[in-house]
């Protein structure tokens, strides 16, 4: 069974890169959410094995999305994808149950390593 991943990022470019990296590595990308509201809805509908979550989103902050997801799906594995300079939000996200984080710009190896580790647990 392929592991199923939901990508949450407001940039099409970032989503495309992540999606290519993940599908090439044999994961199934079950959805791409460009904003918080869609992310919450898709997390429920697709119930993926893992969510990659950008912390800066147009409607909610990524943090609110993280809290929203974990309220309904407390065991959901979430990885934070953030740029440099967002350390405060990342720390708070880890405190709120995010498993790990990836810093943009990311390398394919790094993404696969973090995702692979998260799914192993």
């Amino acid at each position: 069974m392929k592991k199923r991943i939901l990508i949450v990022d407001d940039s099409f470019y970032m989503r495309t890169m992540l999606k290519n990296m993940l599908t090439d590595a044999g994961y199934e990308v079950v959805g791409e959410a460009p904003n918080g509201q869609t992310a919450l809805q898709m997390a429920k509908e697709t119930n993926p094995d893992l969510i990659t979550l950008d912390v800066i989103l147009p409607d909610n902050t990524g943090l609110d999305v993280l809290k929203g997801i974990r309220k309904d799906q407390p065991d959901m594995k979430v990885i934070i994808v953030s740029a440099v300079g967002q350390e405060v939000i990342v720390t708070e996200a880890i405190e709120n149950g995010a498993l790990a984080y990836i810093v943009k710009p990311f390398s394919e190896d790094k993404v696969l390593e973090v995702v692979g580790n998260a799914l192993k647990n």
């Binding site: 407001d10 940039s11 099409f12 470019y13 970032m14 495309t16 890169m17 290519n20 599908t23 090439d24 590595a25 044999g26 800066i56 989103l57 147009p58 740029a83 943009k104 710009p105 990311f106």
Partner: protein, 550 residues
């Protein structure tokens, strides 16, 4: 060649220009509402994405500038800097420069006037960070010449569109072509000069429209091929083999839906090639081959077709194994199997349930056979063939239409009704004297160009009552000279006797509606210019009916 890098670049530019437009909008709004937090948050988000994307793709200038602007807006958000006076001008200049950089991506360095903008941005950031009140700046901002090109309006040259919208457009074009042919036919009957002229103009326009819509749906094969290096590597690792993959023809264009449909098929063939085709390194070396297996994946365009080839230099297929399989699985008795030509023998590999894999491995050989691949290719009107030489390797060749909507077809008449056969499946048309047909085994056969081919009278097959149908009797044929269309499917040929041949024509095939969609031998229906209904024969189904069940 459109590599993944180029695709990323296109996406980056498209998105960056979108962000740039949004930034301009928001910053103008901000000037009217300098305290609006949600506007500031949105500007910050856009610059933040711009920075991250530019850094990821390697446009350092854009990334740096976005970072400076982002920092400035962060200061404004935190009330450490006021969005007023000179800061406004500098930030506007900065965003203009951002647009200029996006539009001149390949430009190496900042222009002189850009340096001023960068320096001014640094100054306002320092002012904010040092906690000085705006106004008592330690350094005067430079008054560089205002950016000249900044007020040119630049719209993105790239849009994203859902494939279903293009599907809808193509369907409409299909309907339009049917009506156009009807109008042309009416105009010929009426023979009115004005109508003739307008209908010939209509013809050219719709043809143009059809090709434009088809063109809009084309993507490069590279978008699929470029996924293979990684896939091949993973399968090779799982199979403990070393593979060298050679890819060519990524820039060939094909309809996006066709590419979608063949994706799984190509993956399946690739898996087969690695796990069953390429031998383990020690076996290869013992056979005098290099230890590393070679697989080549290529595409080339051939008139209205695209040809995709996947070759390996592995162990090839032993025709005797296949012949044994044909007999064991009960397709043919042993004598008949031995009489098959080599190309015919190989075609049985595409029969359901026919597998040569002796060992089920991790990646292939789990019941999904090449018949699934073949069905997928058939469904889009393509062809697949396999060539193999024992010890040398195997080649799969896929002939695919570049577009799905319109097919070239041969029109003919049987019992005063019109029928069509897609040109993809027609081999040749011959006229034979009745005497050249022989009654053998309840069917008619003929020697055509040194091949013995089963010949079916379509008049008898399509019109006779089941109880009295006799396809093996020459007595049922009318006239002396018989027009025969030779169709070919999966390396097997079948002759079809028709009453009257018409012309070749591009047709738009529509699927049959319920309840007649279950009639296997028809692939669909089209409307002719005369308004007459024309059934399209499904050659794969017809050949299977006569050649595998006989």
């Amino acid at each position: 060649m459109k590599s993944r890098e180029e695709e990323y670049k296109e996406i980056f530019i498209g998105e960056a220009l979108e962000y740039y437009d949004a930034l301009n909008r928001h910053i103008s709004d901000l000037e009217k509402n300098p305290e609006n937090d949600s506007l500031l948050a949105e500007i910050f988000r856009l610059l933040h994405n711009m920075k991250a994307n530019a850094k990821a793709i390697g446009y350092i200038h854009i990334s740096e500038l976005s970072h400076k602007l982002e920092t400035a807006f962060e200061l404004i958000r935190n009330k450490k800097l006021a969005f007023a006076d000179e800061a406004v001008t500098i930030l506007f200049d900065g965003i203009d420069l951002l647009g200029e950089l996006i539009n001149n991506l390949d430009q190496e360095d900042y222009q002189a006037q850009d340096e001023n903008i960068i320096r001014n941005l640094d100054i306002i950031v320092q002012t904010g960070e040092s906690g000085n009140k705006p106004g008592d700046k330690a350094v005067e901002v430079a008054k560089g010449p205002k950016y000249l090109n900044s007020k040119n309006i630049q719209l993105s040259d790239l849009i994203y569109i859902q494939i279903k919208k293009l599907d809808h457009l193509l369907n409409l074009v299909g309907e339009l072509i049917i009506d156009r042919d009807r109008i042309i036919s009416i105009s010929k009957e009426l023979d009115h000069p004005d109508l003739t002229s307008v209908s010939s103009h209509l013809y050219r326009l719709t043809e143009d429209l059809q090709f434009s819509v088809m063109d809009a749906r084309l993507v490069t094969i590279g978008s699929l091929f470029n996924k293979f290096p990684r896939i091949v590597r993973d399968i090779a690792v799982a199979e403990k083999k070393e593979i060298h993959l050679d890819i060519t023809g990524q820039d060939i264009q094909i309809d996006r839906n066709i590419l979608q449909i063949i994706t799984d098929s190509l993956l399946h063939i690739m898996r087969n090639a690695i796990s069953h085709g390429i031998e383990p390194a020690e076996v290869r070396e013992a056979a005098g081959k290099p230890a590393v297996g070679n697989i080549s994946l290529s595409a080339q365009s051939d008139r209205d077709m695209v040809q995709i080839k996947l070759s390996d230099d592995g162990k090839g297929i032993d025709l005797n194994d296949v012949r044994r399989g044909i007999v064991q699985k009960g397709y043919l008795p042993a004598e008949a199997a031995n009489e098959l030509r080599d190309s015919e023998v190989l075609s049985y590999i595409f029969e359901p349930g026919f597998s040569l894999a002796k060992q089920i491995t991790e990646v292939s050989g789990r019941g999904v056979g090449l018949d699934v691949v073949k069905n997928a290719i058939d469904s889009i009107g393509g062809r697949i063939r396999i060539d193999s030489e024992k010890g040398k390797g195997t080649t799969f060749t896929l002939h695919l239409p570049t577009s799905i909507a319109v097919k070239g077809a041969l029109l003919f008449e049987v019992d005063s009704s019109f029928y069509a056969i897609p040109l993809m499946h027609t081999d040749s048309v011959v006229a034979l004297d009745k005497d050249e047909l022989h009654e053998i085994g309840g069917l008619l056969v003929a020697d055509i160009k040194n091949e013995t081919i089963t010949v079916i009278s379509l008049n008898e097959f399509l019109t006779a009552d089941e109880k009295t149908m006799n396809l093996g009797s020459k007595a049922k044929l009318q006239g002396v000279v018989q027009n025969i269309i030779i169709v070919t499917y999966n390396n097997r040929k079948l002759g079809l006797i028709v009453d009257k041949l018409f012309r070749q024509q591009d047709i738009v095939v529509k699927a049959l509606n319920k309840p007649v969609d279950i009639i296997e031998i028809y692939g669909g229906v089209t409307l002719l210019g005369s308004g007459k209904v024309c059934l399209v024969l499904d050659v794969p189904a017809l050949t299977r009916y006569f050649l595998t069940k006989k």
